[in-house]
């Protein structure tokens, strides 16, 4: 237990003394996971709208695939993304391996099924006639989509939070495609792994606590947006 307490004190010391390395690592983590979540959201909302509103044939099968994405093993994603990004791989020309870009891709692959599956459920939960009614009242397709997204915002924001959570908490794929390079691809999770490997448990605990605080701040902001009453 002493270690947890030491970790908490060390975390606050690092935060308040403005430790440059820790801030750099925290901003990288935040930036990478935010980008991955944004990509997941764009793809997720597009696919979810298609599945929920168009009800294409084979929808149940498609949704079952998305739902199994909840259990998409990060190590498998890391391996596949790494092999794709290898110099000799199909995306080798992008020279992305061991860069933050590679981590964004891996995390986006992990977050996308989560966001898509939850968004699909959210949009399917809307009254089936609502979309028709909105369209009948003269809304364009984009206006209708915006209205429906707002109607489902409680569940959609929950989907965003779940996607962000999957992205920022990930470490296996992050190390595999990022390389855990100091000052470049070292995130809060991969830095924690390294500190543990070096036996610096206090620092590892401090980084963990900073990660938890960061996650809470992001989720808190999203929750405030989620719970806000929409302007009439």
């Amino acid at each position: 237990m002493g270690l947890v307490w030491d970790g908490i004190t060390e975390a606050f010391r690092l935060i308040f003394t403005g430790d440059a390395q820790v801030y750099e690592i925290a901003f990288l983590s935040l930036g990478v996971s935010a980008a991955a979540t944004a990509i997941a959201l764009v793809i997720g909302l597009s696919v979810a709208s298609f599945l929920a509103f168009r009800a294409p044939p084979g929808r149940t099968v498609a949704i079952s695939f998305l739902n199994s994405g909840f259990a998409l093993p990060p190590v498998v994603v890391g391996l596949i993304v790494a092999v794709l990004l290898w110099r000799t791989g199909p995306l080798g020309q992008l020279h992305l391996l061991y860069t933050p870009g590679a981590i964004v891709i891996a995390q986006a692959v992990i977050a996308t099924p989560v966001v898509t599956a939850l968004s699909t459920a959210a949009l399917q939960g809307l009254h089936p006639r609502l979309r028709l009614q909105v369209l009948a009242l003269g809304a364009s397709r984009w206006q209708a989509a915006w209205l429906l997204f707002r109607e489902a915002r409680l569940a959609l924001l929950a989907a965003v939070m779940a996607g962000f959570g999957a992205a920022i908490s990930e470490v296996g794929a992050t190390i595999m495609v990022g390389g855990n390079i100091k000052g470049e691809t070292r995130t809060l999770t991969s830095a924690t792994v390294l500190e543990v490997q070096q036996g610096n448990f206090e620092t590892a605990m401090a980084l963990s606590i900073i990660l938890l605080l960061l996650i809470y701040l992001v989720i808190l902001s999203l929750t405030v947006v989620q719970q806000r009453r929409p302007p009439a």
Partner: protein
Amino acid sequence: MSRTPLAAPAIILALALLSGCGGGEDLLLGATTSLQGTGLLDELVAGFEEESGLEVKYAVAGSGQVLELLRRGEVDVAITHSPEAEAELVAAGDGVDRRPVMENEFLLAGPRGDPAGVTGSKSVAEAFGRIAAAGHAFVSRGDTSGTHIREVAIWRQAGIDLEGAVWYQESATTQSQNLLVASDKAAYTLVDSSTFRVMKDRVDLVSYLADSEPNLYSVIRANPERHAGVKADAARAFSDFLLSERAREIINAFGRDQYGESLFSSLAVPSERVAP
């Protein structure tokens, strides 16, 4: 218009943006886990980047995996500690210009009180024999890391068949993580001396015996004739740097401040000895 077609352009756009932050010109280095675990890797890379103006990206894994990446031309240069595997790679033409960079020792570490009675053994092989005879727990890296390869060679030397040995466990983690596992299980394990020094205060293990052969870290370059994408010049510059006076100082000084002793000893020839 359905909204799905948006997904494809979104992915392409994202990849285009991402490739903007890619480092096509950077040197890719493969390095063994004990280098990152001790912290030496970051210092060597920083020293090289400062001197050469090149950027280095690295993948850290056991020597077996690093050498496989080198064979495939996925890294330009590698630092590993698995002499036999390195020699095989060079013989097959998949790696070139292998040069010993530095060394430390392999240690046999085990629980306090020496339950298997390895104290007094003349060699690590003999000590392994005693552990096997006592059937005491032994934790192995169990991967193809340099430490594991050496450990397997010692078991062979001791003439011990590990097939079905319940006391023999494989942790398959990094060097330092492996030490934590061994400590927790009150088991014996083979470890490099640098990792052991870094972890000494955090594990309940003592070192009983040093291996007769040094643990040799070497640098090897990927074969540019087999892989068009390899950054041959940058790799050569890195290899040269590791044997330079500057790297020799970094390596020999590393750990003195924190542990009161150096963790690795450089094999670069000191410049004062080069001059006649």
